[in-house]
Amino acid sequence: MPIKEKGYTHWDGELKKSKYPWIPITRKGIKLAFRKKFFKFTFFLTLIPAIAYLAGIYVSERLEDFAFLTQDSEIVSFLKINPGYFNSYFTQGFLLFMIVVILVFCGAGLISDDLRYNSLQLYFSRPITKKDYFLGKASVIAFFLFILTLIPGIIFLLMKIIFSGNLKFISDYPWLIVSITGYSVFLTCFFAFYTLFVSSVNKNRRYVSILIFGIYVFSDILYGIFKGIFESEYFSLLSIKANIQQVGAAFFGQKLPHNIPWIYSFLVLLFICMLAGFVLNKRVRGVEVAQ
């Protein structure tokens, strides 16, 4: 009679390598973000501009029903649905401000908590690479930012087509979908690098929250002050917000808000991403070397 030993039981079959080992990290990060108090409320607040702009698209197709609005020429020009309309949504100050607030909620603890609780060793004792780790963490940020950028952009486009009842809008601006996608990816990549970089700088999440917010606001104030003193547009390169708006205008083929080549702004943001990548690579290590 065979004796079955009830010892430690393990899978005898072949262990397959997961195609997307970073997905559990992303899933967990998203779940943790939603568990935070007031995050859902704040995230909803961030969607308000999208709802307002969607309403604008609807009103633009029914101007005759909203005659009281057409008396104000500013509102009429605002309701002209063109790439400028999309640009004004994607680069508005309120949306960018709220994105930074969302990043504080969902991004501040992404790496700083792992550093604080020595979880990096737990991560890297599993069959995941540093690339998977960063991809997983960045995807948490990408998830929320795409909901605020790419998805509203595509919905605006679709709703415009549906409300107008024809494809004229697409034929007039065939490159718009590329602009929406390209800008959303660019913005998400930048903020992912930025947030992960700041999160990796310190183990204290409170400190990181202040840094994420503070650096963004400080850069803008710095620009305002230097511009006021020296009256030069080139100081806009100091401001993260100004650089994003400059690149956004370039993506949507609009008049640049600052009188400098948009490629300079793009290079500044690219430099920040490269610096962030360098620091992240140094800070995130599987084994802590005690000195």
Binding site: R206, S209, G214, F218, F226, G228
Partner: protein
């Protein structure tokens, strides 16, 4: 026993003093203090750049005192002191909770009120020192060719006093917030960069629901020009009243912080 005979009768003031010296030492050694010292010196670097631009490149026609009062002060008033007060104010309580060091303090013969006030005083002194040193350096850099003009020192004294009052008041508010809100940083950021900015544009008494209103009431209104929008719609409170209000606000928030800390139960995350 000899130890009992040498123990003095404790008073609130001596407990306050002991807590103050404990956290002043701790605060001075902390890495974060060094980082925030650097942050508070950013305006000094800005002042150097501006002065360099003025002296060597003739890039700006603005006087040193104008730049100091309108730019450097604005930067301090609407950014630096908010960040310093937010971080250090909320740290009074939150630091002990996050670091789980609260039991070391609540199991000492020190009243909870003296702990809150002592730590608040220690951290406020640290950030006031950071700010005052930076402000004075900025002033000297921007006005180095006019240091003989004694009237400028009145402006320096006034502006420094406003910043110090602002720090004391904001720190007390954030100390209170830190005693009862877990996500005190988020709340503080939204208050500082949301509420405090937006409310100033409301007319009438609504402006008085912002601490920055009382601080700006102590500063002269800017001449009409490109920067008057900074004080758009300001209906200033008389300076004496503004100072009284700031003191009352500080006392109220500190009192509330002491009460909350005394009665609230803090359960440390295991």
């Amino acid at each position: 026993m000899m130890e009992k005979k040498t123990e003095k009768d404790w008073s609130f003031l001596s407990s306050f003093g002991n807590v103050f010296s404990f956290f002043f030492l701790l605060g001075r050694k902390a890495k974060k203090t060094k980082v925030f010292y650097l942050l508070s010196f950013i305006p000094v670097v800005m002042a150097l750049i501006v002065k360099f631009g003025q002296v060597f490149a003739s890039r700006s026609s603005l006087t040193g005192i104008y730049v100091f009062s309108n730019f450097i002060m604005t930067f301090y008033l609407q950014f630096i002191i908010l960040i310093l007060a937010l971080f250090f104010g909320t740290s009074v309580c939150s630091e002990e909770l996050e670091g789980k060091t609260l039991p070391y303090l609540t199991t000492r013969p020190v009243s909870k009120a003296s702990f809150i006030l002592g730590k608040y005083a220690a951290y406020t002194l640290l950030i006031v020192t950071m700010t005052v040193v930076g402000v004075i350096l900025c002033f000297f850099i921007l006005n180095f060719n006019q240091l003989g003009d004694l009237s400028l020192y009145k402006i320096l004294f006034r502006d420094t006093a406003v910043l110090v009052l602002g720090l004391i008041c904001y720190t007390s508010l954030f100390t209170f917030i830190g005693t009862f809100i877990k996500r005190s940083i988020m709340f503080g950021l939204i208050f500082s960069f949301g509420w405090e900015n937006v409310i100033q544009y409301f007319p009438g008494s609504t402006q008085r629901f912002a601490i920055v209103h009382f601080l700006k009431s102590l500063l002269p209104s800017p001449s009409s020009g490109r920067f008057s929008f900074l004080l758009f719609r300001l209906e200033p409170t008389p300076p004496f009243m503004a100072v009284i209000m700031l003191i009352l606000i500080t006392a109220a928030f500190l009192g509330l912080a002491c009460v909350v800390f005394n009665f609230k139960e803090y359960i440390l995350e295991e």
